[in-house]
């Protein structure tokens, strides 16, 4: 089992990164000009609230002591209160995780649904017309702005065809599923452009690999060789590529949530920036950074589990 030893070691290596993340989020808010208590509480704060926050965050102490206060509060799950929503930032974030998570999952699932068949088509007809078409479309796809793509999908599927809801999130599970299709598709189309290229390269390498040759020598039909031996091996590096792009994916959800009015973390962050709700901006940035680190860690575990040759 020592291949999995890194699961215990990696969190230790992550400690400096986690400290770095906490320092950046701390410094970001402290860089805002003006009295930090006023910045955090808004202009209409009462004197007693200001006195409270001064004590809680040690705002009269030197900056490094303030950082220790910040860490202590963080350790206690205390991320301050939202000026706009008047509730704890942590609770506010908790209520917004589900739509964002649903969007990411929908995006990744639809990405695979789109990318695998196109990469397969392209790889099996390497150098032919279909291959060139897929490559040109995926090159162009890299440059599609998500906000515009989303609106084009709304125009087609909601305005013209009237198949799907324009925006929002819905109440019941089936409503929410419907509301996730267009935002998920927006993310998937952008992400497929990246994933298709990598999958195609992996499949082309796989088609001439020893495994494929051996399978053909045993008289296996080309279709079976492809789907049973080539595709699974091409998917492993793609898992990692998805994880490397998780930051990009999260950035995409921020924009897509604004286009489709999905009440997730990204929309929360953008609105908090406009309303100068800095505790919320800080909290969401922290949550997104932690999610990125965690996703990369999970992807490493998945890669080791999927491919017996990999050592971390």
């Amino acid at each position: 089992m020592h291949r999995y030893r890194f699961i215990l070691l990696r969190p230790l290596q992550l400690v400096p990164v986690l400290f770095g993340i906490s320092i950046i989020t701390f410094v970001l808010v402290r860089l805002i000009p003006g009295d930090p208590a006023r910045v955090l509480l808004g202009t209409r704060a009462t004197p007693s609230a200001i006195a409270n926050i001064r004590a809680q965050y040690g705002l009269d102490d030197p900056i490094w002591v303030q950082y220790l206060y910040f860490l202590k509060n963080l350790g206690a799950g205390e991320m301050g209160k939202s000026v706009v929503y008047k509730i704890d930032v942590l609770r506010l974030i908790a209520t917004r995780i589900e739509p964002t998570l649903a969007l990411v999952v929908a995006g990744v699932v639809l990405t695979l649904v789109i990318a695998v068949p196109f990469a397969a088509l392209s790889a099996r007809r390497q150098g032919r017309a279909a291959d060139h078409a897929v490559r040109i479309v995926s090159t162009a796809g890299l440059g599609f702005p998500a906000f515009w793509l989303g609106m084009m999908l709304i125009l087609l599927f909601s305005v013209r065809l009237d198949w799907l809801p324009v925006a929002g999130y819905g109440e019941s599970f089936s409503e929410r599923l419907q509301h996730m299709i267009l935002p998920g598709l927006t993310i998937a189309l952008s992400l497929s452009a990246i994933i298709t290229r990598s999958l195609r390269a992996g499949m082309i390498a796989g088609l001439s690999s020893d495994v494929a040759t051996a399978a053909r020598a045993r008289g296996m039909p080309e279709n079976v060789v492809f789907w049973r031996h080539v595709v699974p091996n091409a998917v492993v590096p793609t898992v990692n590529l998805l994880a490397v792009n998780i930051g990009w994916l999260i950035g995409g959800t921020v924009v897509v949530e604004s286009v489709f009015a999905v009440p997730g973390l990204g929309q929360l962050m953008v609105r908090a920036i406009f309303s100068r709700d800095y505790m919320v901006v800080q909290g969401v940035a922290l949550a997104f950074a932690l999610a990125t680190v965690l996703t990369n860690f999970l992807a490493d575990i998945l890669t080791v589990a999927l491919d017996p040759r990999v050592e971390m």
Partner: protein, 280 residues
């Protein structure tokens, strides 16, 4: 790249590569449009005309008009100036900072390298757009804030690329020879190592320009970058969103402009990678 192809005139080398030719043609076309916008735009991009609201595309208004009666074609043309500037300046600052940091980290190694690499790890731990938005939240919305945020976040990719190259190059014979001749570290770093390390980043510049363009337009779409009434493609799409069911043309054309410009950068980048034998 072989010596033979190097000795060919530039035109012949480009002519043999349709992707490069097409990419450069698109980029050149946008530069020309940006320069000529005041001459060829039929209308003032911010002039409102209450009598010409939401008109569909026609001979007078090839891309139609928006809800303020502004000519969408003229606005897309003028937008070329801003969005091209975003793609160029948004790449230049991170490139310069990242190249400097990467060269120093790779050359000196040791604790300098260790510290810089940890800083890079931390910056990379944040989703790119989220860190940019956090910085813009502090600085306040605007194009200047976008450039500052871009520089603060974007340098890490260049630093990593250059550092990796310098690490390989610094132990090669020519670098050792330069050191044994007693050249200063500064001279070895920037005159001997850096020019040889740049190929990979110059290719990356092109694919980065696509990301920067999309970021700039997205942040402007969110209302945190370029501010209305300036004609910028992301701003135009944002302003058009409320009219999507009545006037598709206000949304369609600025988006197509982004897609085309980005395609120009991607094609050029792919062709350059091919030409220089660099694989990303």
């Amino acid at each position: 790249m072989s010596l033979l192809s190097l000795s060919l005139p530039l035109r012949a080398r480009i002519g043999r590569r349709p992707m490069l030719a097409m990419g450069l043609a698109i980029l050149g076309g946008f530069v020309a449009l940006a320069l000529l916008a005041p001459l060829i735009a039929p209308f003032d991009p911010i002039l409102q005309d209450a009598g010409a609201k939401l008109l569909p595309p026609s001979w007078d208004h090839p891309f139609g008009t928006d809800n303020f009666g502004r000519d969408v074609f003229s606005r897309v043309l003028w937008g070329t100036r801003i969005d091209l500037q975003i793609a160029v300046l948004g790449v230049v600052f991170p490139f310069l900072i990242g190249t400097g940091v990467g060269t120093v980290a790779g050359f000196f190694g040791g604790w300098v390298d260790a510290v810089l690499m940890r800083v890079i790890d931390v910056v990379l731990a944040f989703p790119f757009l989220v860190l940019m938005l956090s910085i813009i939240a502090i600085l306040g919305p605007g194009l200047a804030s976008f450039y500052i945020a871009m520089a603060l976040v974007g340098w890490v990719s260049y630093a990593r690329l250059i550092r990796a190259q310098i690490l390989v190059l610094k132990s090669q014979d020519f670098a050792v020879a330069a050191a044994s001749l007693g050249f200063s570290r500064l001279r070895i770093m920037f005159r001997h190592l850096l020019p040889n390390a740049l190929a990979g980043s110059l290719v990356f510049v092109m694919s980065d320009a696509v990301l920067v363009l999309l970021n700039g337009a997205s942040i402007s779409y969110l209302g945190l970058g370029v501010q209305p009434p300036v004609a910028e493609w992301g701003v135009m799409v944002a302003e058009a969103q409320g009219f999507i069911s009545q006037a598709w043309w206000i949304t369609l054309f600025p988006g197509l402009a982004i897609v085309t410009l980005a395609f120009g950068f991607s094609l050029t980048g792919d062709a350059l990678a091919d030409l220089m034998g660099v694989h990303e």
